[in-house]
């Protein structure tokens, strides 16, 4: 059998896949890059062409909400990067998450979470899916016995992030997948923080991998997108429902995502290196109480991380020693290079205080339940020079003293 063309191979190096996977060798106009099809609808030569299309004889576009050529390229590239059969692109990570669950859960089903998953994901299930008779349960992150014990005949999905955000717990994905398989339950890993460069959860046996492509995959803080990747037959209903619910990505966005993916391997190498350097610096700083980063030897999940991850990403969580929320905020307000803001995964470093940025409207008791102390800082290292980031953090920690 002839070797498949480079754009259809899944065994090439991660940077080769990032540049070429999913793209046709010969593109419209013989252009080296894919065109942006800024079309809302697609025309047919005549009525017979419509009939042929509806009868399934021809693969082509029909209307923008059902698909766009640029979107398909990105989907195929994402599928190749994650070693999956197919991928479905959405307007945001949340749209992808909601789209996946809406396509697969029925009234009476239950969803079981590790409890450090993105709070908006859990909020959707806890507040909204329950209105449709879908049960919501959660167990402590990485407590695999508790998870298995919580499975009932109604359980449909096991869901976790890895690493979790901002707590940086690293899931043993093979073990997680095995629990799902043993109990006949679908498994989903939100791999936004690790990206396919650091971990490929489908290879560890999970059914679906989810990404907020807004983060590392897009990589430039200039687009919103989400994707779910897995087996084609399990994603067909997701794609169909997307066409009905309508949370599709725009053609312009899809192009920027495709462009961003081309440097994914390079950027991730740098994010990994910066994350490690910043974490090590902070761990040795007298004003820092504790650092959560999977690449540090004292991290509770360091062994799992070392075994399963190529690198540990750009996100570093740390705690200012003996600081209340205002003293912690003073450190954040003193940094010069990272911008203050939510999100992560872009070339520009970002910094924030989760208590303020994401949990301001929760009571102290609720924040305690979320394990979000007032002195917690989350830094999303970009791809600047590590020396500059470290010097900046050093002066901020000193200035705010």
């Amino acid at each position: 059998m002839p070797e498949p063309p480079v754009n259809r191979r899944k065994d090439a190096g991660p940077s080769t896949l990032a540049v070429h996977a999913g793209e046709d060798r010969v593109k419209p106009g013989f252009a080296i890059t894919d065109p942006i099809f800024a079309a809302s609808t697609y025309t047919f030569a005549n009525t017979q062409a419509i009939v042929d299309f509806l009868e399934g004889g021809q693969v082509r576009e029909e209307y923008g909400r059902y698909g766009n050529p640029g979107e398909k390229v990105v989907e195929d590239k994402l599928a190749a990067l994650d070693a999956g059969e197919a991928s479905v692109l959405f307007a945001s990570g949340m749209a992808a998450f909601v789209g996946l669950l809406m396509a697969h859960v029925d009234a009476g089903d239950e969803i079981l979470f590790f409890d450090e998953c993105y709070h908006r994901s859990r909020e959707f299930c806890r507040k909204h899916l329950t209105r449709f008779g879908v049960g919501f349960r959660e167990v402590r992150t990485c407590d695999y016995e508790a998870m298995e014990a919580a499975i009932t005949p109604r359980t449909k999905f096991l869901i976790s992030e890895s690493p979790t955000n901002p707590h940086q717990s690293v899931v043993d994905i093979e073990r997680f997948a095995e629990i799902g398989r043993r109990n006949g339950v679908l498994t989903l890993i939100d791999a936004t923080l690790c990206t396919p460069y650091n971990v490929r959860p489908l290879e560890a046996g999970v059914d679906f991998v989810l990404h907020s492509a807004t983060k590392y995959l897009g990589g430039h803080n200039d687009l919103l997108a989400g994707a779910v990747t897995g087996a084609a037959d399990l994603l067909d209903p997701v794609r169909n429902l997307r066409g009905i619910m309508g949370g599709v990505n725009s053609p312009h966005n899809a192009y920027l995502l495709e462009r961003g993916l081309k440097t994914l391997a390079l950027r991730m190498e740098r994010h990994n290196a910066n994350g490690q350097a910043v974490a090590e610096f902070l761990a040795s700083h007298p004003r820092v109480d504790r650092v959560l980063y999977p690449g540090l030897a004292d991290h509770p999940f360091h062994e799992v991380a070392r075994r399963t991850m190529r690198g540990f990403g750009g996100l570093v969580t740390f705690f200012i020693k003996d600081a209340d929320w205002r003293q912690t905020a003073a450190v954040i307000d003193a940094v010069q290079i990272p911008r203050i803001g939510p999100s992560l995964g872009g070339v520009e470093s970002l910094i924030e205080q989760p208590m303020v940025m994401s949990y301001w409207n929760y009571s102290p008791d609720e924040r305690a339940a979320f394990r979000i102390p007032d002195n917690m800082v989350r830094m999303a290292c970009g791809i600047e020079d590590a020396d500059d980031l470290i010097a900046d953090l050093a002066q901020a920690l000193e200035a705010a003293e």
Binding site: P5, V6, A12, G13, P14, S15, T16, A18, V19, H20, I32, T33, H220, N221, D222, R259, K262, T263, A265, L266, R267, E269, R270, I337, R339, G341, S343, G346, V347, E348, L350, G382, I383, E384, D385, D387, D388
Partner: protein, 383 residues
């Protein structure tokens, strides 16, 4: 701040009204003025616009210049520089230069009464000998194209200064990551931003970076008068591109060095041109002049005729057969008929661009994949 940090942050101050971490793309062609006369940041987009200025700010910072100007293409930038010359002036250029520049100099400027002398600028004696009393400009490429010759920028600066001649460096192949001619004393740096600066094969652009404000202002006057400016969407994509410039160029240089060494060992390859190889004439100078690598461009000659060279470039699977360079995808081409087809045939032969010369632009793919691709393409030559 260091190069890469500036590449990400200069000109990218968050938008003060919305806080957006990436500044908005301003498509406006004209700007509402506070008064009929008097100062305004912007009036008409040919003169300047916010998104173009953001790119120009980071470009000036990366090349260490006073002012940068963004153009619709590299040739628009080159043409703008050439407008500093007037009839009767004399221009000295390299011989191993981009074919489009060669065409502008030899087929357009000559028609306008500018005299041209092309010399091998890697030979400083030849450069010195070419200078005449009416010489006004010396045009060099620190890494030549397509033969990858290395020109001594500081040496040329000394000659140009002594003669009162402007030194312009087309730094497209070396990029400001590896070489910053302004820091070595050059007057103007030119880039085809289409290449490494944009870096993704999805825009056309040119750049001029001037050493001081006076020269920058003169070039801006000419740019505004002739109008070949970069558009807002390309400016945005260039800002996005330079954020990964250093990562890309260092990775491409490392892969190119490995491929060049490998090519040297192939029996069907009779000559490899790459400044990073220790047996190259410009290697010692290159080690001194370029920082972090020797660039992502490699050319080589095969034992065989044009038909054999065509077979090689037409049978790679990862390297795409296309002109241009500097992007994430690897490209392969035949300079004699493609990138340097604009040279007069006799000039091409005199310079050493043989019919069997193959040029590679090394992208970001895994080196092992590119090597395997070249191996199978070279195998078409038989034993």
């Amino acid at each position: 701040m260091e190069f890469r940090t500036r590449a990400i942050h200069v000109g990218q101050e968050p938008d003060p009204t919305s806080g957006a971490v990436v500044p908005p793309v301003h498509l406006a062609s004209t700007f509402v003025l506070p008064a009929a006369e008097g100062p305004a940041d912007y009036d008409y987009a040919r003169t300047g616009s916010p998104t173009r200025h953001a790119f120009e700010a980071v470009a000036a910072s990366l090349d260490g210049g006073a002012r940068a100007l963004a153009f619709a293409s590299g040739m628009a930038a080159t043409h703008c520089v050439s407008l500093l010359l007037k009839p009767g002036d004399h221009l000295v250029t390299g011989t191993d230069i981009y074919g489009g520049s060669w065409r502008l100099f030899n087929n357009v400027l000559t028609e306008q009464g500018v005299a041209i002398t092309a010399v091998d600028t890697s030979d400083l004696e030849a450069v010195r000998a070419a200078i005449r009393p009416e010489t006004r400009m010396l045009w060099i490429e620190p890494i030549g194209n397509p033969l990858m010759s290395v020109t001594d920028v500081a040496g040329c600066v000394a000659i140009a200064r002594a003669a009162g001649v402007l030194l312009v460096a087309d730094n497209t192949l070396a990029t400001p990551v590896l070489c910053r001619p302004l820091e070595l004393g050059a007057d103007i740096v030119m880039h085809s931003a289409t290449k490494y600066i944009g870096g993704h094969s999805d825009l056309l652009g040119g750049l001029l970076v001037a050493r001081d404000d006076e020269l920058g202002d003169r070039l801006h006057w000419l740019q505004n008068a002739t109008g070949g400016v970069m558009g807002p969407l390309e400016s945005f994509l260039c800002c996005r591109g330079v954020k990964t410039l250093e990562l890309r160029v260092l990775a491409q240089s490392a892969t190119a060095a490995r491929l060049a060494t490998w090519l040297q060992q192939q029996p069907r390859v009779c000559r490899v041109h790459y400044p990073g190889l220790s047996d190259q004439p410009g290697h010692d100078l290159a080690r001194q002049q370029f920082h972090g690598g020797f660039g992502g461009m490699v050319s080589f000659e095969i034992a065989g005729d044009v038909a054999a060279a065509r077979r090689v470039v037409e049978s790679t699977k990862i390297f795409r057969l296309a002109v241009s360079l500097g992007a994430v995808e690897s490209l392969i081409e035949l300079p004699a008929v493609m990138s340097h087809g604009a040279y007069a045939p006799e000039a091409r032969q005199a310079v050493g661009i043989t019919d069997g010369l193959i040029r590679l632009s090394v992208g970001l793919e895994a080196a092992v994949d590119l090597e395997a691709d070249l191996a199978s393409a070279l195998a078409t030559l038989g034993d």
